[in-house]
Amino acid sequence: MSIIHVDSLSKHFNSIKAVDNVNFDVREGTIFGFLGPNGAGKTTTISILCTLLRPTSGTAIVDGYNCVTQPAKVRRSIGVVFQDTTLDKDLTAYENLLYHAILYNVEKSERQKLVDDALMFIGLYERKNDLVKRFSGGMKRRLEVARAMVHQPKILFLDEPTLGLDPQSRNNLWEFITRLPEEKGVTIFMTTHYMDEAEVCDEIAIIDRGKIIAQGSPEELKKSVGGDVIYLKTTDNLKALSIIREEMSLTGRIKGDELFITVTRGDACLPELIRHLGDIVKSVRVQRPTLNDVFLNLTGKEIREEHPDSMDEIKESVRAYRRRFDRT
């Protein structure tokens, strides 16, 4: 049973095709990940699904309701954590959650309990009367997830929930995000550009320039790479590339100062490779495929190497400013 159904969805901003004919289904009770580089169209897709943006064409159905024609019904079913924080830092943690409960029409008799439960769940109950501006980045993010859960939504949207957090806070956050489907029965739709985070998903769609270029479970996707990846550094990458092509009939690609080749059995292939290339080889490493290789294999680029466009830069500097500002 799919709880989110997206059919030929597109969103154009003038000439930019931010989302370009996208199709996918999300099964109830699973974690679905949207993985892609900056500007891939992740946030745009989420904005359409949570009714803040009208698609140019196509349909999006969330919990059985149409996002364009039944936005109010969709909003009742979902909880959203936006990429940029939407907490009010001049209110306390408790106030932020309480106002949320009122906005979502939670029964007065239940509000207190639901807010307290949510704060308990993320381990911030003791700090409930502190102003949010006194919280660390990780605490704020956890609080935002808790807030999105207060009205007990069926579906939780998380747009880059761990952006800007240190590794420890990231782990911390993931620990309770992954508890949600089991303990609360929610479906999670999340976006990220951290490969390792996507590993927790039951299903991943890889999106680049508005198009879904691969979809499947993390294992399926890694299998699709077709084996291990060998990374080579040589004194002459172009020459090495032609030797690999012509003498070994393998396909390799150059990325940065490295050459990478996908083979079924990395360890078995190595001796032969070195024999053919001889002493132009400077270093070699073999890697089991990761989701990063999946992306690399499909697009020929790293997921994180894209240069942010100017709007992203502006947004990023505003975020940085707010982070600094929030701390004071």
């Binding site: 939407t86 106030e95 106002y99 029409n105 102003l131």
Partner: protein, 254 residues
Amino acid sequence: MIELRVVYVISAREFKKFLREKSRLFSSLARPLIWLFLVGGGLSRIVPTGGNITYLQFFFPGIIGMTILFTSIFSAISIIWDKEFGYMKEILVAPVSRTSIVVGKAVSGSIVSTIQATIVLMLFPLVGLKLSLLSVLLIILLSFAISFSIASIGILIATFYESFESFSIIMNFIVMPMFFLSGAMYPLRKLPEIFKLIAHFNPLTYGIDALKNVIIKEAGEMGADFSLSLDLVIIFLVSLVFIFLGTKAFNRRV
């Protein structure tokens, strides 16, 4: 359809923040005080008023109007600022009607604006005015009504608001002219015809006139230009029309 819970959340939030941010209160009171005592106090010495009040007393309703104008317009503009970078998204994604959000924003701006106007009002003995308790209460009620009408205009402006640059455009081409052409500094009947005509289309004119009707009742030549009931009708109509237009524009933008 207006959902009271939404109006409540938006207003309660604004009110709590207002109480916590003392610096915001002081900085927004600085402007009217400077205008009152430096500009008004100075002009008071050289401008013969001809009536039975001093220029400073004449200027007092205008200063309350100024406080309301700035506070209401700028709190309304935060509707868009909030939308790009913050809390407004939390409200927009909740199952609430857009009309409630716009009304909530106008009410919350009006509450803050009324508090500020009331603080300025309490300075009336300093300019030598005498007001009964009843008049004071009436002025506070009037301040809320005027604030609401100005905030609804602010929300419509905010929907056209694109960037920081437009901030100074709004200041220079909307807010300041609204103040100068409102009868705050000069009685309308003494303005040149062309300005008088423009002032008649300025909603703030009627707000300040309503205040004059209560604060400087017996000023004759220097007093109110219209009757209090006309002022009230116009304030009410302006609120209604701009809340309607603001909701329309907000719906389209968001």
